[in-house]
């Protein structure tokens, strides 16, 4: 694993959030360092997706703060946070079924305010990272397989050339081999461009292989943080997940 550089790009401090007054996460102090892959694992309902949504502005925090590159972004909109160089690959399939892949990419770049003259180049850049997308660029997303839809979702997130990528369980519904194929180019890109990635996963073994650091979440709180190797060796925790 690559050493973790020192500068935090995304931080939360005593973050708490929930739905309808019911707290789901609380007291979350988390830092994503520049250029690292941080893997977050935990059971269903542990609060992983809630944390990601709160970090990305999709959910208003009840307490605490979120900062990007030291700038307080607490309570700001997803658009504001995206403007800071953050992109999110949401849980499930981050595609619009009635749109074609070309349209999803066009809408993604429009939303990210990518200059018109750069859009073709951006699409080429993503297609070089995930070349298989070329085969189904003009098909409606509803006609794609789960793996293809996940590639489109990741490709769309990359179109804004983010510095920070939040990925919420990209392996859901995918065969392990397909998940490996999906992660490999992302890992290459991360190493080449210094991308910082927060990867929420239940497919623990595969996710830890590409991670620099890991955290474990349980009942809305972070209960463990350390080296992925340590986690792999920790039989008690590995049995849990």
């Amino acid at each position: 694993m690559t050493p973790v550089p020192g500068k935090p790009v995304l931080q939360t401090s005593t973050l708490a959030a929930g739905y309808g007054g019911r707290p789901v996460i609380s007291g979350i102090d988390l830092s994503l360092m520049k250029g690292e892959v941080l893997c977050m694992i935990g059971h269903n309902g542990a609060g992983k997706s809630t944390l990601l949504k709160t970090m990305f502005g999709l959910l208003a925090p009840g307490e605490g703060s979120v900062s990007v590159d030291g700038t307080d972004m607490t309570g700001r909109t997803p658009r504001d946070i995206a403007d800071m160089g953050v992109a999110m690959v949401p849980e499930g399939r981050g595609i619009f079924p009635s749109l074609t892949v070309t349209e999803i990419f066009a809408l993604g770049m429009h939303a990210a305010r990518v200059p018109k003259e750069e859009r073709a180049e951006r699409v080429d850049w993503v297609l070089n990272i995930l070349p298989v997308i070329r085969e189904f660029m003009h098909r409606p997303a509803s006609t794609l397989s789960g793996g293809q839809q996940q590639m489109v979702s990741i490709g769309r997130a990359l179109l804004s050339r983010p510095r920070i990528l939040l990925m919420d369980e990209p392996s859901i519904g995918l065969a392990p081999k397909l998940f490996q194929d999906l992660l490999a180019p992302i890992r290459t890109l991360q190493q080449r461009e210094g991308l910082s990635i927060l990867l929420v996963e239940q497919n623990v073994k595969e996710a830890l292989k590409i991670s620099d650091r890991a955290v474990v979440m349980k009942s809305g709180q972070l209960i463990w943080e350390g080296d992925p190797g340590e986690l792999s060796d920790n039989d008690r925790l590995m049995e849990l997940y």
Binding site: F56, L58, T77, P78, R79, A82, D83, M88, P90, G94, I95, F96, P97, S98, L99, E103, A106, L107, G108, H110, A111, A112, R156
Partner: protein, 289 residues
């Protein structure tokens, strides 16, 4: 000759139904808001035209006033009624009751200002001329069909080729994901109301010069819009267009076999037939999404 005459009349009616219903379908399909007051937007557009044209403003300024009235009504209703209900996570039924109430209020206000009886815009364009022996068509019929073709074609292009159009389709698919993209669902929703309201304007104006207006016409407009949306397939704009034309033709051609008092019943017979036999409609998806 009677069948040809009825078919042409049916096409005119169908074109107006399509224009009216597509506005409702666009709003409902993209926002899932049951905009019952869509009929009120029609009434406002029609009476604003009637008032401005009657005051001697000329056709183009009167069309502008009509469009302004319809769009302003749609946007204000969205901003002042629907958005607050959504913010408080109000139910589908809450939205329906609020919208129905606004529709009734508009009907009464229009009735107080313009009277409750029928009014008509007088124009030479509504005078029929014999196009082939025993078949009479008014220029307004051709204008109605041309308006429907231009507006509905334009809407199709808009939804397919522009970012706002794509965003409207995206909103229909998944509002949460729209936010994840960094788009503003409220702004897209407002666009749906503006476009859905403005597309009703040509139908409202042409109706004011053909069958005439009454404050209560909004209910008929809404029922036709709802029927066309269901028959066409909920969420399908092309389906709604097709269903609007089909219902207009069916109402008119039904005169070959039934009395005029039964023509409206034909629409609802078709609606019930679709609900029972093909609930997904002409071009709708077989399953909910």
């Amino acid at each position: 000759m009677l069948a040809i005459q009825l078919a042409i009349t049916g096409l005119q009616t169908g074109a107006l139904y399509a224009l009216t219903a597509v506005g409702f379908s666009l709003i409902f399909g993209s926002t899932r808001i049951f905009h019952f007051a869509h009929g009120a937007a029609f009434v406002i557009a029609a009476y604003f035209f009637y008032a401005a044209f009657g005051a001697g403003w000329g056709v183009i300024p009167a069309i502008g006033v009509s469009a302004f009235g319809a769009v302003a009504f749609g946007l204000l209703l969205d901003r002042l009624v629907y958005v607050p209900i959504q913010r408080h996570e109000g139910s589908f039924f809450t939205v329906f009751v609020a919208s129905f109430g606004v529709g009734i209020a508009v009907q009464n206000v229009i009735g107080m200002i313009f009277g409750r009886g029928y009014v008509t815009v007088n124009t030479t364009l509504s005078r029929s001329v014999e196009v082939i022996p025993e078949v009479y068509v008014s220029p307004l019929a051709w204008i109605a069909i041309a308006c429907a073709a231009v507006f509905l074609g334009g809407l199709g292009f808009f939804l397919k080729r522009t970012h706002t159009g794509m965003a409207l389709r995206a909103l229909a698919d998944n509002p949460e994901l729209v936010r994840t993209f960094g788009l503003n669902p409220r702004a897209i929703q407002a666009a749906a109301f503006a476009i859905g309201s403005v597309i009703v304007v040509p139908a409202a104006i042409i109706t004011s010069a053909t069958t005439g207006l009454s404050p209560a016409i909004g209910h008929h407009v809404m029922l036709i819009s709802l029927a066309a949306t269901i028959v066409g397939g909920i969420g399908s704009i092309p389906g709604t267009m097709l269903a609007g034309v089909m219902l207009g033709l069916a109402e008119s051609l039904a005169l070959l076999v039934v009395d005029t008092q039964w023509t409206e019943a034909v629409t609802f017979a078709i609606l019930f037939a679709f609900i029972i036999i093909r609930p997904s409609g002409l071009l709708g998806r077989a399953t909910a999404h």
